[in-house]
Amino acid sequence: MKIKDSFTDRLFRAFCYFVVAIIVIICIYPLWLVIVYSISDPDRVNAGKVFLLPQGINLDGYRQVFRHKDLMSGYWNTITQTLAGLVINMGLTIPAAYALSKPSLNGRKFFTTMIVFTMYFSGGLIPSFINMRNLGLLNNWWVIPLTGAVSSYNLIVARTFFASGVPRELEEAAEIDGCGTAGTFFRIVLPLSKAMMGVILLYYTVAHWNNYTTALYYMPATNDYWPLQMVIRKIMQDVVLSQSSDDPELIAYYSKIYNMIKYAVIVVSSLPVLILYPFLQKYFDKGVMLGSVKG
C-alpha cells in the first residue's frame, strides 16, 4: 500500500531538489567558466562580458601552454614521479597491511600503534627538513615519490579490509594445498582485493598529482625536477611569462592573453583527472565505506 505524499511533504521534497540543484550549479559553474575562459576571445573576457558560453573562440592560450618549456617539464616530472610513487606506495602499503592483519605476526599491535601514532604527532616541518637534508634527499628527484610513500590512513584501510573482507577459509585451503604465505597472498588474497586496491590507488594517485608542498619545502633550488603544481604556482605568480621582449606590441599581446594562458594551464593540468574521473566514480563510495570501518 502506498500512501500519497501530503502537500507539505511534496513541498519539502521540492525544496530539497531546489537546494541540491543550486549546490550542483555552484560546484560546476567555476569549473565550466575556467574551460570557457580558456577558449574565449580574451578581449571579451577581460571586459567582463563572458558569463556562460564561450565567445569568439581563440586557442592562443593553449598554443602558449604547449610551447611553455617549464610546464611541459613539470608535466613530465609529475607523470614519472607519480608512477614511481605509486609503485613504492603499493609495494610498501599492501604487503605491510596484509602482514599486520595476521594475528600470527608477533608485535603487530606495537607496529600498528607505531604507525597510527604518526597520524597524530610528527616532528614538524623543521626537523623533517633537516632529516631530508641528512638523507641527501634535498633537491633530489626522489624526494617526491619517497615522502608520501605510505599513508597511514590507506594502510589502516587496507589492513581492515584484509582482516575482514577476505574469507579465512580460502586462505587456509590454499595453505593446506601447499601454497606458502607469499603464494597465498599473491594468488588468492590479491585477486580478491581488487576493489580495495582500486580505491587506495585512486587516493595515492590524486595525492601525487596534486602534491605541491613536498616540492615547496624540499626542492627550493631545482626547477628541473619541479612537479606540475609547483610550476603552475610559478606561472600564476609571474607577471609576464618567460618571453621577455622589448617589442611593445608583443608585450601588449602577452598581457592581453595572460589570463587566458592561466585558464588554459588549469585545464591542461587537470585533464588527466577529468578524463579518469567518470571511470573512478564507482570507487568513491566504496572507498569511504572501507575507511569508515574502525581501524
Binding site: S104, I126, P127, V273
Partner: protein
C-alpha cells in the same frame, strides 16, 4: 603453544622458551615479517628520525652543520615565542579560521539529508558526481581560480558592477580573507564530505518510514526522528575528529592564499614556522613553535578521544 604448557616455572627457563618461541614464530612467519619490514623502515626514516630531530627546538641551530653539535639553549625559544607579539596573532589567526570552518560543520549533514530525499537514482547519481568533482581540484588550482575570479577585474567584480554595485578589492582585504579561505574549503569539500553521511543513511530501515507514514508522520518529522538519529553516531565521530584537529590548519593553503596585504590575518602558526625556519633560517626557534603546535594537536586529540570514550563508548584510537 605446546612449548608454553611444557615451560618450567623458573626465570631462566621461562626466558629461554620465550626467546625460542619468538625466534620460532619469526622463522615460521618470516614472509610476513619481510612484508611489514620495508614499511617500518620507511616509518623510522621519514617519521621517527624527524621526531628525534626535534632536539633542534632546544638548540641555537642556524641550519649549518650538525644539529647535535649546536649549542643547547633549553626552553629559550618557547619563552621568546610566547613573549613576542607573534604568539597571540598566529594563534588567534589559526583559531579564527578553524572555528569559522567548524561552525559550518553541519552543512554536509544537511546536504546529505536533502540528497537522500532525491528518489530518482539517476538524478541523484549525476548530482553526486558533480558535487564530488571539486574535491579533486588541487589546492594550487583552487587558489589560482580564486585569484583569477576575485581579482579586481575578475568575473565577480564584473558581475557586481553589472548589477550596479561597486567593485571590491577581494584579494587585498583582511576582512574578506577568512570568508575566502573558509568558503573555498566548503566549495571543494562539501560534496565529498556528504559521502560518509549518505553511506550511514543507506542503513535506515525503510520499514520505519512506512510505519511512521501510516501513523501520519510528515516527511520532515520522519527525517528528524528517523534519519537524523540513524546517522547520529557518524556525526559524533566526525565532530570529534574535527574538534581534535582544531589547531591543525592547512599551512599549504594559507601559504598559497596569503599576500603582503592580508598578512595580519593570514599568518598562522604553520606559515610562521615556514617563514622563520625555512625562509629565515631560524631553525631552532621555528622548530620550537612547530613543536608547540604539534603537542597541542596531540593533546587535543587525546582529550577529545578520552571524553568520547567516557560519554559514548565510540572512540577513534
Amino acid at each position: 603453544m605446546k612449548n608454553a604448557t611444557l615451560a618450567t616455572p623458573g626465570g631462566v627457563a621461562k626466558r629461554n622458551t620465550y626467546w625460542k618461541r619468538l625466534t620460532k614464530n619469526i622463522w615460521k612467519n618470516k614472509v610476513l615479517y619481510l612484508f611489514v619490514l620495508p614499511a617500518l623502515v620507511w616509518y623510522v626514516l621519514f617519521h621517527y628520525l624527524p621526531m628525534g630531530g626535534l632536539y633542534v627546538a632546544f638548540t641555537r641551530y642556524k641550519g649549518v652543520g650538525d644539529v647535535f653539535a649546536a649549542k643547547y639553549v633549553g626552553l629559550k625559544w618557547f619563552e621568546s615565542f610566547f613573549k613576542s607579539k607573534y604568539a597571540s596573532t598566529t594563534i588567534i589567526n589559526t583559531l579564527r579560521l578553524s572555528l569559522y570552518a567548524l561552525a559550518l560543520f553541519p552543512l554536509p549533514i544537511i546536504v546529505a539529508l536533502m540528497l537522500n530525499e532525491i528518489k530518482q537514482k539517476k538524478v541523484k547519481g549525476v548530482a553526486q558526481t558533480i558535487m564530488y568533482a571539486p574535491h579533486f581540484v588541487s589546492l594550487v588550482i583552487l587558489i589560482s581560480m580564486i585569484q583569477l575570479f576575485f581579482a579586481s577585474k575578475g568575473i565577480v567584480n564584473a558581475a557586481i558592477t553589472a548589477l550596479g554595485g561597486n567593485a571590491v578589492n577581494f584579494m587585498n582585504s583582511t576582512k574578506v580573507y577568512p570568508h575566502l579561505y573558509v568558503w573555498s574549503g566548503i566549495w571543494s569539500s562539501l560534496g565529498w564530505n556528504t559521502i560518509i553521511y549518505t553511506a550511514a543513511l543507506s542503513s535506515v530501515d525503510p520499514g520505519l518510514h512506512e510505519a511512521a507514514t501510516l501513523d501520519g508522520a510528515s516527511l520532515l518529522q520522519r527525517v528528524r526522528h528517523i534519519n537524523i538519529p540513524t546517522i547520529f553516531p557518524t556525526i559524533v565521530i566526525t565532530l570529534i575528529l574535527r574538534v581534535g584537529s582544531i589547531m591543525s590548519l592547512s599551512t599549504e593553503k594559507s601559504l598559497l592564499l596569503r599576500n603582503d596585504v592580508n598578512m595580519a590575518v593570514s599568518e598562522t602558526i604553520g606559515t610562521f614556522v615556514y617563514n622563520r625556519g625555512l625562509l629565515g633560517g631560524d631553525f631552532g626557534y621555528a622548530a620550537a613553535v612547530g613543536l608547540f603546535l604539534n603537542v597541542v594537536n596531540l593533546a587535543m586529540m587525546l582529550t577529545v578521544n578520552f571524553i568520547s570514550k567516557k560519554v559514548s563508548e565510540t572512540s577513534l584510537l
